[in-house]
């Protein structure tokens, strides 16, 4: 059951490209996932934990020869180098991480939001982005108070706007 998660490894964020390309040379040829966790609610520094999930994949008989979970820390400033030259799918995944968390990757062409629209302000999966925040394009909700008793408001995960 744990083989699918893979061994956890922490790498330095400045050298992420070198580390990952040497892993790719070792045979970890599939980037299974690239995601991020915001630990600012726990006061951790650097606040973001970027996770690369790699798989050593045998093309001939479709065997999974081992997985790795690569963690590296990141802050607001772009410290992580893009790995889209190693795995082309990283392009979209990095766009998603930028869109949702505002973690920037350098050494890649202009980054565009993947899921949200261009006029969206902020990065919604950050812990300090309130779940009830209204966007400028949508405007305030008519007549609705921010503290009206609905299910979602009863249990906010983050402090209000």
């Amino acid at each position: 059951m744990n083989a699918i998660q893979g061994e956890r490894r922490d790498i330095s964020s400045e050298r992420n490209h070198e580390e990952l390309s040497s892993l790719k040379a070792e045979g970890y040829n599939m980037l299974v996932d690239l995601t991020c966790v915001d630990y600012c609610a726990q006061g951790r520094s650097p606040r973001f934990d970027v996770i690369y999930r790699l798989m050593k994949f045998d093309l001939a008989d479709g065997k999974d020869l081992g997985r790795l979970e690569i963690h590296c820390g990141a802050g607001e400033e772009p410290v992580l180098r893009s790995v889209r030259d190693l795995w082309p799918v990283a392009d979209w995944l990095e766009r998603e991480v930028w869109d949702m968390f505002g973690v920037k990757f350098y050494d890649r062409p202009d980054i565009k939001r993947l899921l949200m629209y261009e006029e969206f302000v902020g990065h919604p999966l950050r812990k300090d982005y309130p779940i009830l925040k209204r966007q400028p394009l949508i405007g305030p909700k008519d007549g609705a108070k921010a503290d009206s008793p609905s299910f979602n408001i009863l249990k906010p995960t983050v402090t209000g706007e």
Binding site: P88, V89, Y117, Y129
Partner: protein, 437 residues
């Protein structure tokens, strides 16, 4: 100076196009009918699944998972329940695992039927669509009996499933499987050697093994290139290691191979279902909540020397006490909801239920983070969950299988004819609910 008289023009396909199952936009640069460049724009169905999960309790996330891949919602339910249970360190009783396998495989068949039916319809074969949707309907009725809903199933709970199999379920399913077999046989006769169909799908939407791996593609899309990778075989979860099934693979990685792979996978899923119905043991379908006693009562029992009895009970500690999180590593009452019969018929059951669904009192999962994946209808459906010891996820990441295929779509389409978009897009089987979350 040579002035080229070739002119390219832009064409917007989507966001609301009949062949774009859901909403997605393709911006195409065309030279005549040839695609010179293509940009895929997604996100039109973004519903903030991951953000929403962070503000819910562990069990409350289950209904949101229905909306991910709405053609096979039961697989999402199971995938999510498995990651939470892995984090909590609990295992569902064997009967519950078999019920989950049955639910998953029925869902996989409905998903593949929908995919083949929609592709066939878009290529002009409405008859096949009607035959396959009729077969799917038989399975949807079984899903309805099992879960109480056709699409929004919300079937799993942390520690089990909503309910046991209804009476006579196996027999009704056997009748439905016969219908499905008839329908896929008809579809096979109508499509597999059909000149019109083959002209559209053979040799279009080709992807190589190497490209598929570079893009992280899994599922029937990867298997059509000849790589027999299936999470059910590579990392068996639930009781999949007890079934005898083969992984159908293609050879060229074109739309035709993907159609054949899906058709063969339906038959394999039906085989798994029949084996599961034959093997399913009696017993509980969910973990039984353990009997609780106050911690001081257990202490008294210890003083009296009743140490053997202590094993039978779980310590009841005030939820507000620090250190509560440490006590729930064992499968105790705080990890599973009481059976509905208990909730509705006695006060203890009702209180127990209320305590578990009340915010900040509910199921507490130990601090940690984990990843687990199941074989979704489109590939590896993974969930990465982070718990900070609270009653809901701190972070929940869903790895949607079709995101990876969609990332590769422009690469597959460049150089093709505009008419090839429809079969290629059909075989990607993009489900916007899962893609955009």
């Amino acid at each position: 100076m040579n002035i080229s008289n070739r002119k390219t023009y832009m064409l917007n396909m989507g966001p609301a196009h009949p062949s774009m199952h859901g909403v997605v936009r393709l911006v195409l640069e065309l030279d005549g009918e040839r695609i010179m460049a293509c940009e895929t724009e997604i996100g039109y169905l973004h519903r903030a699944f991951e953000k929403h999960a962070e503000s819910e309790t562990w069990n409350n996330v289950v209904p949101w998972t229905d909306r991910l891949n709405y053609v096979s919602p039961l697989i999402n339910n199971v995938g999510y329940a498995l990651v939470v249970e892995k984090l909590a360190g609990i295992t569902v009783p064997e009967r519950g695992q078999y019920i989950r396998v049955i639910a998953c495989e029925i869902s996989r068949v409905t998903d593949h039927l929908t995919c083949i039916a929609a592709t066939a319809m878009e290529l002009g074969s409405l008859t096949v669509f009607l035959y396959l949707i009729k077969a799917r309907e038989c399975l949807y009725q079984r899903v309805d009996e099992l879960t109480g809903a056709r699409i929004t199933t919300s079937f799993t709970r942390v520690g089990g499933v909503k309910a046991d199999l209804p009476a006579g379920f196996a027999e009704k399913c056997a009748a439905a499987f016969a219908e499905v077999r008839t329908a896929i046989c008809e579809a096979d006769q109508l499509l597999t050697r059909n000149r019109i169909f083959m002209d559209r799908v053979e040799g279009t939407g080709v992807i190589s093994k190497e490209d598929a791996v570079a893009y992280g593609i899994t599922g029937p899309f990867l298997r059509s290139t000849g790589v027999p990778y299936d999470v059910r075989r590579a990392h068996p979860y639930l009781v999949y290691d007890r079934f005898d099934f083969v992984i159908p693979v293609g050879s060229t990685g074109d739309n035709y191979d993907r159609y054949l792979c899906r058709l063969a996978e339906i038959e394999q899923s039906l085989c798994i279902l029949e084996q599961a119905f034959a093997q399913i043991p009696d017993g509980d379908h969910s973990l039984e909540p353990r009997e609780m006693k106050h911690a001081y009562e257990l202490q008294d029992m210890g003083k009296r020397g009743d140490t053997e009895l202590i094993e039978r009970y779980a310590a009841k500690v005030d939820q507000t006490l620090e250190g509560m999180a440490a006590a729930i590593r064992a499968p105790n009452r705080w990890a599973t909801l009481p059976a509905k019969e208990q909730t509705y018929t006695n006060i203890e059951g009702l209180m127990n239920h209320f305590e578990l669904v009340m915010w900040s009192w509910g199921i507490k999962i130990p601090v940690g983070e984990t990843y687990s994946a199941v074989e979704g209808a489109n590939g590896e459906l993974g969930f990465h969950a982070v718990s900070d010891g609270a009653d809901g996820p701190y972070r929940l990441r869903c790895r949607p299988p079709c995101l990876f295929t969609m990332a590769a779509l422009s690469k597959i389409l460049i150089g093709a004819q505009i008419a090839d978009i429809v079969p290629t897009f059909g075989s990607v089987n993009m489900i916007a609910g899962e893609l955009d979350r």
